[in-house]
């Protein structure tokens, strides 16, 4: 039976088409084209495109971290809380008179610590990721509300606000704001880590089959810990960008962000059962969601249509993925 199918249709079809990110890329192109036709005056402009890229960065970089976690066979529900905690930490540092760089670094350190705690629970204490991060989601949210005394924290951003702001006159040569560029570099670095290093293979191996990974001599708890901690760094960066947008520390910010992040990864071909996913796919997934939001606004469709469309995209993406898999078998 198996030899039949391996020589069957899937053997003849272009192997490249089986890459997970092809689908999301097509969807991005199609939807962009659609909105470009429907709102041809406002949508296909440099301005709109740059704005969309800026808006995608927070979900996008968090989705890059989530990609590693989902490839590992895990999940992280505490992303939103960790982002809020980061904005609060950054604001508190700034208000304490520290510079922009030190404050951003402190924010990232806080999120990394959150990631490491998740990693320790999941890796060394063998908690189910869903449960462990459900716990830290609530815990971190409470913690940052406490730190901020349940108030927004105003602070002089000392230049952090420029990370995502539209480029001022005279710096158009950069094309995109610094924050977007740093995000792109981080995403590429993680993509290379997953694709070209031993550690990257180990992440896929653990996600594919934990017992088999163990049998290959892979230190499974360490891999899990490392992935969650590294994802924490990326969530920290997402938090700094979020602060850059808000220019306040907001303990009630980003509630439910993790669901957008998970949706981006799933649209991008990540499988919640582990072993599959790609950074490029996830970033495209995040971009797709922004395109739907922006496009609907430009066309004048109400919010509820956007939500329905996003839902359809998620279901269709997963459905197509299943078909792609069945071909492979």
């Amino acid at each position: 039976m198996t030899t039949m199918s391996s020589k069957g249709l899937s053997g003849l079809s272009l192997p490249k088409l089986r890459a997970a990110w092809i689908g999301p890329l097509l969807a991005v192109v199609l939807l962009f084209g659609l909105f470009a036709i429907l709102a041809h005056e406002t949508f296909p402009t440099t301005n709109t495109v740059v704005t969309m890229l800026r808006q995608t960065t927070v979900v996008g970089i968090a989705a890059v971290g989530m990609t590693m976690i989902i490839v590992l066979g895990g999940i992280d529900l505490s992303v939103g809380s960790a982002v809020a905690l980061t904005t609060v930490a950054v604001a508190l540092m700034l208000r304490g008179g520290h510079g922009a760089f030190a404050s951003a670094l402190a924010g990232i350190a806080a999120a990394t610590l959150c990631g490491a705690i998740n990693g320790a629970l999941v890796g060394y204490m063998k908690f189910v990721p869903f449960i462990a991060t459900l716990g830290t989601m609530s815990l971190l949210r409470g913690l940052c509300k406490g730190m901020a005394s349940e108030q927004k924290i105003d602070a002089e951003p000392h230049g952090l606000e420029t990370l995502l702001a539209p480029l001022p006159d005279g710096r158009e040569w950069m094309l995109l704001p610094t924050g977007v560029w740093i995000t792109v570099i981080l995403a590429i670095a993680v993509a290379l880590l997953l694709r070209t290093t031993q550690a990257g293979r180990y992440v896929f191996a653990v996600g594919s089959s934990e017992p088999a990974a163990r049998l290959c001599g892979i230190n499974v708890p360490r891999v899990k810990f490392g992935v969650f901690a590294l994802a924490g760094i990326l969530v920290g960066w997402a938090g700094v960008l979020e602060f850059s947008r808000l220019t306040v520390g907001d303990p009630t910010d980003s509630v439910g962000l993790e669901l957008d992040v998970i949706a981006a990864v799933v649209i991008g071909g990540g499988s919640l059962s582990g072993g599959e996913g790609s950074v490029l796919g996830s970033v495209l997934g995040a971009l797709l969601m922004t395109i739907i939001k922006t496009g609907c606004t430009h066309v004048g469709l109400p919010n509820w249509v956007q939500e329905i469309l996003t839902g359809i995209i998620i279901v269709v993406a997963v459905g197509l993925d299943r078909i792609r898999h069945r071909q492979g078998e």
Partner: protein, 520 residues
């Protein structure tokens, strides 16, 4: 004990009858025309080697599988269960070998699972309790020790087995009880308790089909027997007229034990006793947490040592302990000059490779490529420190897949797409790539087509010839006899003496594995 042989024509109405059952799975003909007649008030032993067709037959009787051809009758009426539920309604109940209680639920809830008395969808608690109590007491006696409110997970294996049986008896109209290896997880005292119960059930004119590998148990408790071999009935009769020796002969097929295999010619090169060579693995009196209970062996460079035994005898557990996957409770394991703690990573560094019997669950990373699977246990050297270069990885993988003649499109193909035999070759190739000196192979030829099987066996001999040490576990006795230099048999967790392969026959191995050795 002696009063139990009561299968006279009076009480022996035909309970369940099967005629000409055939069943094919893919290319395997699991059953090729099996007849079975189970009478009420009788304990009917169903015997055969692994793969003889016992499990398939049980599946068909219990409704989990439908036969390709053949017919069945239950109490004189045609019996064609559409599924396990239907079979239960008809009164045919299977007690699984793998205990299948819901650990989080109470004993009472487990006993009544699926047959809860209810009205408009609401449970009738008191009636449910009364019925569960009744079923449980019929198993444990009036002063039973098992509480209805105990959590199933907290029970001992023996008590769980009793609850399983109670669950079957609680089904209204239960008349045929199918027991699959009911004693494999029980201690000797509990086995006695179970047998007392089985004899009682027999008096209540239930028909019992009893599958077991343990001959002495069958001789003690069963009335009649049917031996399956290669999907056919090899022999049947009454227990009173047979001996352990005859049963072993019937299971092994007598003739095949005398023949020598063609691969034996390959053995000629290693004719000399390998005792001069350095020991690679020394296992002394080890015991695991549950199994094995006692095992000692030494494997030298250039030899293949085999371990025979039944499923569940503790062979797999022994290999896993050596590889550091399972904890060692007692004794010592020394690999080359290394003693002390073990983990798979450390063992791999010491030059040990392990091939899992569970190819899909543990052996392979099914969603990953052939190249990834092959190189995963030694990625270093495939690129600058910490990196893996695709080209280098593919090249290394290609080298081994060519050598082992793996049939595939490309090393980038997912392992999931390969056939069983080719998957097994990839799993074996991983050990070659990691440059292991000691190969621990658990059922290396299980579920593998005949061509791949011969190739894999040839590779194992070649490994030994090149100075590697191999420890192989297999349930297929002719294979062991043809590839091993020395063989030991594990029986209920104890590894017997390791003797040269020439000192064994298939018959003798089977006798030792089923515990018939001391009986006759």
């Amino acid at each position: 004990m002696s009063a139990s042989v009561l299968h006279g024509p009076a009480s022996g109405a035909v309970g369940l009858m099967a005629r000409g059952l055939q069943k094919t799975f893919g290319a395997t003909r699991a059953l090729r025309g099996v007849d079975l007649e189970v009478r009420s008030g009788e304990i009917h032993a169903l015997m055969g080697e692994n793969g003889a067709g016992k499990s398939t037959l049980m599946s068909i009787l219990s409704g989990a599988a439908t036969p390709d051809t053949g017919s069945m009758e239950l109490g004189g009426a045609p019996y064609r269960p559409s599924g396990p539920r239907d079979a239960r309604h008809a009164g045919v109940l299977l007690v699984h070998q793998e205990l299948s209680l819901c650990g989080h639920m109470t004993v009472g809830e487990n006993v009544m699972l699926g047959i809860e008395p209810a009205q408009f969808g609401f449970l009738r608690r008191s009636e449910m309790r009364a019925k569960a109590e009744q079923a449980l007491r019929s198993v444990t006696g009036k002063e039973g020790t098992i509480s209805l409110d105990a959590r199933a997970a907290d029970l001992s294996p023996a008590d769980r087995q009793l609850v399983e049986i109670a669950r079957a008896l609680a089904v209204p109209g239960c008349r045929i009880l199918l027991l699959d290896e009911p004693t494999s997880s029980l201690a000797a005292g509990d086995v006695d308790r179970l047998f007392v119960l089985l004899r009682e059930l027999k008096q209540r004119s239930l028909a019992i089909v009893y599958i077991s590998h343990f001959l002495e148990e069958i001789l003690r408790v069963c009335d009649v027997y049917t031996v399956l071999r290669d999907g056919q009935v090899a022999e049947k009769g009454t227990i009173a007229d047979t001996t352990a020796k005859k049963l072993v002969l019937a299971m092994s097929g007598g003739a095949s034990s005398a023949g020598t295999s063609p691969i034996e010619e390959a053995l000629v090169s290693s004719e000399g006793e390998p005792t001069e060579k350095a020991p690679v693995l020394v296992v002394e009196n080890v015991a695991g947490v549950k199994k094995p209970s006692q095992a000692s062996l030494t494997v030298h460079r250039g030899e293949v040592v085999g371990i025979a035994g039944l499923l569940g005898a503790g062979r797999t557990e022994l290999l896993r302990m050596i590889f550091g996957l399972d904890p060692v409770a007692q004794g010592s394991i020394k690999v080359a000059s290394h003693s002390g703690g073990a983990s798979p990573a450390r063992r791999i560094a010491q030059g040990v490779g392990f091939l899992s019997e569970d190819r899909k669950g543990e052996g392979l990373l099914l969603s990953m490529s052939i190249a990834d699977n092959l190189t995963m246990s030694r990625l270093s050297g495939l690129g600058p420190s910490g990196f893996v270069k695709d080209g280098a990885q593919r090249e290394s993988a290609k080298k081994w897949t060519d050598m082992l003649a793996v049939k595939m499109r490309d090393v980038g193909q997912k392992v999931r797409d390969l056939s069983g035999g080719n998957q097994q070759k990839v799993a074996l190739a991983r050990l070659l790539h990691q440059e292991a000196d000691l190969f621990l192979l658990d059922e290396p030829t299980r579920g593998v087509d005949i061509n791949s099987k011969t190739q894999i066996e040839r590779h194992i001999r070649a490994l030994a010839a090149s100075g590697k040490a191999v420890l192989v576990v297999s349930s297929h006795l002719p294979d062991l006899l043809s590839i091993c230099d020395r063989i030991g048999v594990m029986y209920r967790g104890r590894l017997g003496e390791i003797r040269p392969a020439s000192a064994w026959t298939e018959h003798a191995l089977l006798a030792a594995a089923t515990g018939a050795e001391g009986n006759t």
